[in-house]
């Protein structure tokens, strides 16, 4: 193995670059890193190699985990058939693949030699079948999965990763015209919308096959298995439930008018009609049944499945080894989430996030301060409506001021960026033409109104706030309802002295279509500092599928 460049600064450079990639670098250290990079021609190449290696390593491990995830719910003949399909073996070659379990014991413990397909299939079948208890006796499920990774790495090899298949032709195949096949049974669902969707007939662990385009209107039948490799797609069941997929994801249609199996990836279920109530999503380890709601299932991890409820409630039920539900169901309600680690016999609460589909979220800018307003001019959208002594007789429009504070540089007359509303409290606010009437500046309530169009789905969302304030963000109120908690990062009473951002969770009930009144209460906690720097950028981040998909 070659040695690293041993210039005195090489290790320091690596350290700095690693910290940068993990968001741990301050401005001073960043300047040092820049100096290294700009003065050493090889430095940027080495750093690029390092970051690319990180991405590749992540891909390599995750693709193998995905291969296991794909296979581990299969047992017995189904597993062997799947393995044979992946290896393109004929049915006769399947004979007695799982018979020799005693040799598998040896191979599981001593796998230094390359294994044949027969051994791999046998070992995998053994590992993932009812015999697995014997394997699990050696350790935890995690350890068993590590063994499976080793075994499967022989099976799937580099081809498990799409990167490794760049020589594969990417011919696009036009879909067949939708038909009602008599041999496949009646259609149970339809693709109702797609957004930049590229499909593949391949599944994880298999070489990248020819991409396929399924267009809206394509009927889906029991047993159909679809892998979405790029983009988004919406599938509607015969009973009216909507499943929105974000790539990469693999689903399979069941012999049921209101159900779908999620093998891997992310799915959001939307049930807005009476007939769609009871929509079932079979995900790895968990059955999720809608009770009139919107929910997200995240099965991207090879070791666990998460369910996040955006609105309403769902029932989740653990599956037994044969795939059937095996326990009393758990109820999960809005803004709650549960996680199930495969192999465990319980589900546990986990932190809710409405942003399961991060890249599908649309961000609605609600009302930044001072947008498109020149310095010194009033912002008609933001007003002071109360001070420490109570509501003001007459709301005061805040004026845009450029900050001269060294830690709060003002964006300065940028029509697309929120700008500071800056003043010094007292009888006369700085830059203000008239007496404000504020008598107690220790507390100020600043208000705005925001309009949400009908096209925005009012799911539970997040209010993204970017602000700089030398004061305390004390409360956020929407339509008279106080939003609690503000967030982990913006605890009530926290002193905020620098630029901050916060994602404040908003329940679906807080906002409404049309006009919404938003009030931000700040308190001056620094007796020696009377300047108020206020700079808000408010965005409401919600699912944007409806708008995105219909805009095609």
């Amino acid at each position: 193995m070659s040695q690293p460049d041993n210039t005195p600064n090489h290790d320091a450079l690596t350290e700095l670059f690693w910290d940068y990639l993990h968001g741990r670098l301050d401005a001073e250290a960043a300047a040092k890193l820049e100096q290294h990079l700009l003065t050493n021609a090889q430095a940027a190449a080495d750093c690029k190699d390092l970051v690319d290696t990180m991405v590749l390593a992540q891909e390599a491990f995750k693709s193998e985990g995905a291969a296991i995830n794909e296979l581990k719910h299969l047992t017995g003949p189904d597993l062997l058939k799947e393995l044979a399909r992946r290896e393109q073996l004929a049915e006769p070659q399947l004979v007695d693949l799982s018979a020799d379990v005693s040799s598998v014991d040896i191979k599981l413990q001593d796998h230094t030699e390359p294994l044949t397909f027969k051994q791999i299939a046998s070992a995998t079948a053994y590992l993932l079948s009812p015999y697995k208890k014997r394997v699990l006796a050696f350790g935890s499920l995690a350890a068993a999965l590590v063994l499976a990774v080793i075994l499967l790495s022989n099976l799937v090899g580099p081809s498990a990763n799409p990167i490794a298949n760049n020589n594969t032709p990417t011919e696009f195949i036009e879909p067949e015209a939708p038909t009602e096949s008599t041999t496949r049974g009646s259609a149970v669902a339809t693709i109702t919308a797609t957004h930049n969707a590229v499909w593949s007939s391949a599944s994880a662990g298999e070489a990248l096959a020819s991409p396929v385009i399924f267009t809206p209107g394509t009927n889906l039948h029991p047993g159909d298995r679809l892998t979405l490799t790029v983009g988004f797609a919406e599938i509607t069941t015969n009973d009216g439930a909507i499943a929105i997929l974000e790539a990469p994801a693999t689903v399979e249609l069941l012999d049921n008018d209101n159900a779908i199996r999620l093998h891997a990836g992310k799915l959001i279920g939307i049930c807005e009609t009476e007939s769609s109530k009871g929509f079932l999503v079979q995900s790895p380890g968990l059955d999720v049944t809608d009770l009139g709601t919107r929910f997200a299932v995240d099965a991207t991890s090879p070791v666990c499945t998460e369910v996040h409820v955006l609105q309403g409630e769902v029932e989740v039920e653990l599956q037994s080894a044969d795939g059937s539900a095996s326990s009393a169901p758990y109820r999960v309600v809005e803004r709650q989430a549960v996680r199930h680690t495969h192999g465990s016999k319980q589900v546990s609460a986990t932190e809710f996030t409405s942003q399961i589909f991060r890249s599908a979220y649309q961000s609605y800018t609600l009302r930044g301060t001072g947008l498109a307003i020149a310095e010194g001019k009033p912002d008609p959208h933001w007003q002071i409506v109360a001070d420490g002594s109570g509501p003001l007789e007459k709301p005061i429009a805040l004026h845009v001021q450029l900050s001269t504070h060294p830690h709060h540089p003002s964006p300065g007359n940028d029509p697309e960026r929120a700008q500071y509303l800056l003043f010094i409290p007292g009888d006369q606010l700085q830059g203000y033409p008239v007496d404000t009437g504020i008598t107690d500046p220790s507390r100020l309530v600043i208000s705005t109104t925001i309009d949400l169009p009908e096209s925005v789905r009012l799911d539970a969302g997040d209010l993204y706030m970017e602000y700089a304030s030398a004061n305390v963000l004390h409360a956020l109120t929407i339509n008279g309802q106080t939003v609690e908690p503000l967030s982990k990062r913006v605890n009530r009473g926290e002193l905020l002295g620098t630029k901050n951002t916060a994602l404040i969770p908003i329940p679906s009930s807080a906002l409404r279509h049309g006009e919404n009144i938003v009030e931000v209460e700040i308190r001056n906690a620094r007796e020696t500092l009377f300047q108020w720097y206020i700079h808000w950028e408010l965005r409401y981040e919600v699912l944007g599928f409806e708008t995105q998909l219909k805009s095609l």
């Binding site: 940068y20 820049e34 690319d52 590749l56 992540q58 990167i163």
Partner: protein, 175 residues
């Protein structure tokens, strides 16, 4: 004649890690880099008619990643520090540099290197990526400090990067 969508998909596959790596350098955040890549992938397919020919796909992707990355990092605005445009230029030059080995070769080398790593290093990467645990969660599971795990993971990646370079050099490919 504008490029075909399949050429874009092929380019995205061929240069995936290099493009995501570049996005990571631009935004300084792994998750945000994935978002940038996803956004740019979708944009490239949507705007295929704007790319004049196959040779311009990767330059287009590089530029789009930079612009989208700068936009996202400006919107988020919560990162400690960012690299300057001059430094980003340096990194941009290494994306799809003709002198570099293909991603197929790099992935194959990586797998070989992983095979030769000490078991505890492989286990650590499996915990980090396969089980998607954060360094702090790994630290808790292994009874070590966050900092020790953070540094160990760094050392493993540095060693892997050198190993890949070494392997590619020995089989005649420049990294």
């Amino acid at each position: 004649m504008p490029v075909q969508i399949e050429h874009i998909v092929e380019a995205l596959h061929q240069h995936r890690s290099s493009l995501i790596g570049y996005a990571w350098v631009v935004v300084g955040d792994a998750q945000l880099a994935d978002d940038v890549f996803q956004d740019v992938s979708l944009a490239a397919i949507r705007k295929a008619e704007q790319i004049v020919d196959a040779e311009h796909i990767v330059p287009w992707l590089r530029q789009a990643i930079r612009l989208r990355g700068l936009e996202l990092r400006r919107n988020r605005g919560r990162h400690a520090a960012y690299l300057s445009p001059e430094v980003l230029d340096l990194f941009e030059n290494y994306v799809s540099n003709a002198a570099r080995a293909t991603e197929t070769d790099r992935m194959a080398s990586l797998r070989r290197c992983i095979d030769t790593m000490p078991k505890h290093s492989r286990d650590l990467l499996a915990l980090r990526y396969e089980q998607d645990l954060k360094p702090a969660e790994i630290a808790e599971q292994l009874g070590k400090s966050d900092q020790a795990i953070y540094k160990a993971i760094k050392r493993i990646h540095v060693a892997l990067a050198h190993c890949i370079k070494d392997r590619l050099g020995s089989i005649g490919g420049a990294s």
